[in-house]
Amino acid sequence: MAAPSFLLLFPLGLLSAVRSASLMDPGSMTSSDPSVQAPHLTGCKSREQETFRCWWSPGSFQNLTEPGALQIQYWKKNDLTKEWKECPDYSSSVRNECFFNKNNTVIWIKYCVRLHSESQNKTYDTLCFELQDIVHPDPPVALNWTLLNISRSGLNYDIMASWEPPPSADVSVGWLTLVYEVQYRRRNSSHWKVLEHEFGTQQSIYGLQTGEAYEVRVHCAMRAFNNFGEFSDVIFVHVPEIPNKESTFPVTLVLIFGAVGVAILLMLIIFSQQQRLMVILLPPVPAPKIKGIDPALLKKGKLDELNFILSGPGMGALHSYPPDLYQDVPWVEFIELDADEPEPGEKDNQSSDSQRLLGHNNHHTNHGCFHGLSIPDDDSGRASSYDPELPDQETLMLMAALLSCQPNKVEPCLGNCSHSSTPSLDVLEVPCPGLQAPDLPPEGGERHLVQTQLGGPQSWVNMDFYAQVSDVTPTGGVVLSPGQQVGAPENTPTTKKDKKGKMEGGEEESEEEEERRTNKLKFQLLVVAPEAGGYTTESSGRQMSTPDPSSPGEVYHTFPPPSAESKPHQEAYLPATTLLGDYQSPYILPDSPPDVDFQHSLLLNPPSPQRSPTCSPQPPSKPLPVMPIGYLTPDLLGNLSP
């Protein structure tokens, strides 16, 4: 639909679009041969909107260069006849120019001018326009400049350029309304700076530099048209420099003040942030500290808090027992024999260590308590994992050799029985399948965790205190017997055991403990906090006993609560023990139900009240304010063995 009209208009538009009304490029014709140029109209211009001129070029055609060969013909829209008229006035002064005077010039009416050869009857070019569109005003006159001001530094200045409209333009009448454009540049520069259009006859130029020579020129155009006329004559602007010595003075002064200010600022920063700078530059040497414990507590003697921390749930982290505390205490001293032997003495009882041990074992027939020393590190984890993992240690191997899954009633005593001086003891949880048989209490899938003490400080390496499981009681208890003497004194503890059938309360035991208490005991006791119906985790309860020189050595065995009916697994875990100074730390009783026996029976034992009383917790009525639950006194050990 648009194609036909486009085709109609296209040739005409193409022809006329090649040239503009006011300007024409010579040689821009669509002739194929660039060297040969056809005659063409170069342009038509009006200076004041009252007259106009047209120029043409004959091109390279030789036969048309003679005058008169080509004619300019024009035609106006409002002509009555549609004939082309000859140019009214061929200029005599300028070659190939046609001048239209006032009488032949009308505005707002379309003109069409064509280059025609009469002889050949051929039109070479056509141009159509209206007068107001081809107006290029003359340049303004009387361009001048005045100095406005000079900057304080004497480097820059401003001028005001003024001019007058071209005399040919009838501005006063209002026939033309002109807009002016000022341009300026440095003398040797090639780029003109163009300022904004100005409707008035003066323009201010800012930011010129003294000592430099500038050129200024101006031209004008019809308002709302873009046909600028020629430029006016160039004027030169120059302002000599004013030597100003004062200008350098403030600069140096400013620099000096700036440097002083910066220095003062730096000093202030350094002095105000001295502490932090010192920390950054000379970092303090870190002081040794116990992980998880505020060293301030140690200094100020806040034992209660410290003990709480140490025995609290975060106990697992406090594994680093100062070995110094334990080294001097032979393991032997931790074992309490029967009440008849009040003073085991340090080294005197070495010979009877095994006896003691056996006695202890005999006492603890029902609930094969055995000593378990927990490794400072994640005992509970191992206990809870319930994996029959054997720590890779030589002592473990030794213990394994010692242990024999004999059908002795050995009740494993879960928990830490004596563990004061053996921070490096490991707990061996050896499931003894042989022990597991029907003797197990009615907990499904139980496993006896026989925890034995492995390794130990060197002070008691030479002792024959290693206890091996000599027997497992039908009830699930494990009977410990000394390593070298296998199955010897199994009968002796029975009596004791009968005596101590129950470990209820703690009064009996406390009395016994008091008897036995000597100064040599410096161990801690870790109590597995029993909870109703299950073994406690490490967080449940820990008891710590500080080594009390005055207190007799006691062996506290802690019995983890039996794996209750609900729990299929029994976890024997030995909480870590710590040894604190020389104080007595209060025991922290875990929340235990009143049925202590139930809770503190050993793994292998059914939850029967038959638990040896030694395993029941005995709140010490002595210097230890809180009795651990399920600790084992030496006399109770004898009740272990069946």
């Binding site: 009308v106 107001q132 209002g174």
Partner: protein, 233 residues
């Protein structure tokens, strides 16, 4: 008796002096030219200045609109329409002389009436142009705003010229035209080349006529200040 009468007149004059003053001095009318009917006591010179301002602005905006439209919609070969002999602007009711000398010899009455006729003849086409431009898909907002502004200002220019005629020529017969939305004469699809060229022609013709209006009014102004120099070039 005479003294008494004179004294009475003086007293009355003194009492009524504020009223006389207020009646004698014409009120300064500071409203827009659109509301000039309400404020009828503006001086001729100020009114003429305002009318000329309007005409200048209209002309400038129309020229900008024409350029915008040309850049946006007119294909390149069709540009510079001044070279085309094809387009024609709508003929006016009376011929307007073309040469400057002839125009300078036109009387004030003719000038004013010519301006009024021009203004009135363009009110409706501009509204039509606005509706067609709205139908263009990608007509720039500035173009639409400009055409809308021009049509509004044209109305107020018409009112101003009417008042000017009334003041300068004491001709009170003219009334402002009421514009009624008529049916668009052409319902061609927008952006088709024909409609594009037609709209382009419309804008160009309006630009030319706006230039005419401005020139006439400036000539008129020149005559108000200095009659002789304006006539004699």
């Amino acid at each position: 008796m005479n003294m008494m009468q004179v004294m009475q007149n003086v007293v009355w004059a003194v009492l009524l002096w504020p009223c006389l003053v207020s009646l004698g001095v014409p009120l300064e009318c500071k409203d827009e030219q659109g509301s000039i009917i309400l404020c009828a006591s503006i001086s001729k010179e100020k009114l003429l200045d305002r009318v000329i301002q309007h005409a200048e602005l209209i002309y400038r905006v129309s020229e900008e609109s024409c350029t915008l439209f040309e850049e946006m919609f007119v294909p390149f070969p069709m540009r510079s329409q001044r070279n085309q002999a094809g387009y024609t602007c709508a003929t006016k009711a009376f011929p307007i002389p073309g040469s400057k000398s002839e125009i300078q010899q036109i009387s004030d009455k003719w000038l004013l009436h010519s301006v009024l006729i021009l203004v009135q003849s363009w009110i409706e086409p501009l509204v039509y142009l606005q509706t067609t431009l709205d139908r263009y898909d990608d007509a720039p907002d500035t173009l639409l705003k400009k055409t809308k502004w021009v049509s509004e200002k044209l109305l107020s220019l018409e009112q101003g010229v009417v008042v000017l005629i009334r003041k300068m020529l004491d001709d009170d017969m003219l009334t402002t035209s009421y514009y009624e939305q008529g049916v668009a004469p052409y319902a061609l699809q927008p952006e088709v080349l024909e409609s594009v060229l037609r709209d382009y022609t419309l804008l160009s013709c309006f630009k030319k006529d706006a230039h005419k209006m401005e020139t006439f009014l400036k000539l008129l102004k020149c005559r108000q200040t200095d009659k002789y120099s304006c006539f004699l070039h």
